[in-house]
Amino acid sequence: MLEIKNLHAGIEGNEILKGINLKVNAGEVHAIMGPNGSGKSTLAQVLAGREEYEVTKGEITYNGKNLLELAPEDRAREGLFLAFQYPVEIPGVSNTNLLKTALNEIRKYRGEEELDTMEFLSLIKEKMKLVDLDQKFLSRSVNEGFSGGEKKRNEIFQLAVLQPMLAILDETDSGLDIDALKIVANGVNTLRSKDKAIIVVTHYQRLLNYIIPDFVHVLYQGKIVKSGGKELAFKLEDIGYDWVKNGKQEEMVTQ
């Protein structure tokens, strides 16, 4: 589904990603872990098409298409979804308005009929239960005045409504209490299927107790320095990231 080859990218002349290679197949869940500043969020933003980041080298293929040539909105219409680390507040735009416009633009792109108001509302109601959000929330402005937890739940709500093929969660677990974490994880797990894929970017192993990954990658200084199964996450939890920082990767890799 997604193949990243030798990806180099940065912002304002600073190279942050220094040769990422990653292959994600349909049905898989990949976790990308790493200490702060390792490039995790940059990778997520580059995948979503953030204009500020410049790709200097490498390629990304998504479902056979050159992802880097697609505008952010077309990436979304092709089924890519980024749950933001810091969801943006948009005063004056209601959650309903955002979702209805998004859903219908995506459907139009795919040559599907637009949803009428009744169909839309029943879909929305069904998905709201999943993330335990109140009805009143729909008429509120997008993320405006939301608590950190509400913002993250809203991202998962959007994910549930838009039903992407490839979901990228950028530190969706940060700052969540255990109840919110379970809600978020549950929302993500309902998306899991053999034709969809998920990339979970996280700093902590905790989320991976609830969203069990098939693969774990450790990102450090713009490169994936270690890949493994879910047991790698537990190992990281035990010994922390210091081993990568202290230049002991070799030791880990050889184990």
């Binding site: 979503a48 098409g49 953030r50 204009e51 505008a71 952010p72 909105e73 990436r75 979304a76 219409r77 979804f81 980024l82 933001f84 969801p87 943006v88 507040e89 948009i90 005063p91 004056g92 735009v93 308005n97 955002l98 979702l99 416009t101 998004a102 859903l103 633009e105 995506i106 792109y109 402005s141 997008v142 959007q158 838009l162």
Partner: protein, 438 residues
């Protein structure tokens, strides 16, 4: 400078012809006023950018043209008029074509007893005492060259009178259409709205043109809100993009009166909008909201004055601008709180979005406070469109144009949503969409 003098002489030279066509109105009291205003006009100069009040607005483009009053009788197609109506809104309609009241296009619906909706020209002919009492009383022409010009050429405009205790439920929609003429024309609508004690009325002034031509609208509106009266005023300015629109509105507010104004301005090459409200007695409230959306080389200049003369009055002012291309915006909001006006609440805010690097806004709040127990605030912002918000919308599959439109609607929303009539709100939402989805 010489050009300005030439143009002044030009307008003065038009007066003879204007007078000739008045059909016997020359002996009336109003004609004495016209002549006095004309002599005032000849004494005054057109302001230049050296004048503090006109610092950012050069009148040079306006003074290039010799505009004359229109003496042709024009009519406008029904289809054009219906395109200007608000869907599903039952309302009284007054239509003026190139400055003159057009009875056949107008439609006055179930008005409560005693309410007068008429043309100023007719009311002057009928020697209406209310008109004589109020017309020109609030918009003084001694020191304002455009008001002097308007007063000298006073001919027609809308007159609305709501007697004491009467509630006019349906809004009154007044459309001023400038229609293609043989020459370059000036129209000078002169409006007077009087709401007596305990009355209520909603009035919409709507300025449009049937063709994209060069003309000059110089309009003066005087509004009286007597004790406990509620007056909601909406002005939609959609003039030709080549036109000049100079407007002055004077509001006289008495005890416990409640006046609100919404200005939506998208048209004209050069717009100057003066708004002055005098809160003359205790307990009165004034809301002044504005939204201007301009592009190309358009210039929009709003000068507002909230004059708090007495205690316990509230004023809220919120102006928003969306500027594209090389357009220029000016906002000058003055609030005076006089010595007696204790317990005044006066709030003012001006926010602007610049959609291009070449667009420019000059914003200047001016607070003059002489009382010591008041709450006043002001704020101004100038910014670009929120790129993060736009990216967020795009990342959800919403295209560039739709994302832009959504954010602009959101920006304008606090001005638009405070308009009480839904169909007018919808009309304005449509204007916003059309303006930026070309």
């Amino acid at each position: 400078m010489d050009k300005a003098i030439d143009i002044k002489d030009w307008y003065i030279s038009n007066f003879g012809e204007f007078e000739k066509r008045l059909n016997g109105g020359k002996e009336s009291l109003i004609h004495e006023k016209r002549k006095a205003a004309l002599s005032n006009f000849s004494r005054l100069d057109f302001p230049s950018i050296k004048d503090e009040e006109w610092k950012y607005t050069s009148l040079a483009p306006l003074l290039k043209y010799n505009f004359s009053p229109s003496y042709e009788k024009k009519s406008v197609s029904k289809d054009f008029i219906s395109s200007l109506l608000f869907d599903e809104l039952e309302h009284s309609l007054m239509v003026f074509v190139s400055g003159k009241f057009s009875g056949e296009s107008s439609n006055l619906l179930n008005l409560p007893e005693g309410v007068i909706i008429g043309s100023i020209a007719e009311e002057l002919n009928n020697n209406n005492q209310i008109v004589s009492k109020h017309l020109g009383k609030y918009a003084d022409h001694q020191n304002n060259v455009f008001t002097a010009l308007s007063t000298a050429f006073t001919q027609d405009g809308a007159f609305i009178y709501v007697p004491s205790g009467i509630i006019v439920e349906d809004p009154i929609h007044i459309i001023f259409i400038t229609s293609l003429d043989n020459g370059k024309i000036i129209t000078q609508p002169r409006n007077l709205f009087v709401a007596e004690k305990n009355s209520q009325v909603t009035i919409i002034e709507h300025y449009v043109s049937s063709e994209e031509t060069i003309y000059f609208t110089n309009t003066v509106t005087e509004i009286v809100a007597e004790e406990n009266a509620v007056v909601d005023h909406i002005k939609l300015q959609e003039e030709s993009k080549k036109a000049f629109h100079i407007a002055r509105m004077e509001v006289d507010q008495e005890r416990n009166s409640n006046f609100s104004s919404h200005l939506i301005s998208t048209g004209a090459d050069l717009t100057r909008n003066d708004f002055n409200s005098k809160l003359n007695d205790e307990g009165s409230e004034c809301t002044l909201n504005g939204l201007f959306m301009i592009d190309g080389t358009q210039l929009f200049d709003a000068h507002t004055l909230m004059d708090h003369a007495k205690p316990h009055c509230n004023s809220h002012e919120h102006y928003k601008g969306i500027l594209d291309d090389k357009s220029r915006g000016v906002f000058n909001g003055k609030v005076i709180v006089r010595k007696d006006a204790q317990k005044t609440n006066a709030f003012q805010e001006n926010n602007n979005i610049l959609l291009s690097d070449e667009a420019l806004v000059n914003t200047k709040p001016q607070l003059e406070i002489f009382a010591d127990d008041v709450k006043c605030s002001h704020g101004a912002t100038i910014g670009q469109m929120d790129e993060e918000a736009k990216f967020y919308l795009k990342s959800r599959g919403i295209g560039e144009d739709s994302s832009k439109a959504i954010l602009l609607h959101a920006f304008a929303s606090d001005v638009v949503t405070s308009i009480k009539i839904e169909s007018v709100r919808n009309y304005i939402e449509k204007l916003i969409t059309e303006k930026f989805n070309q």
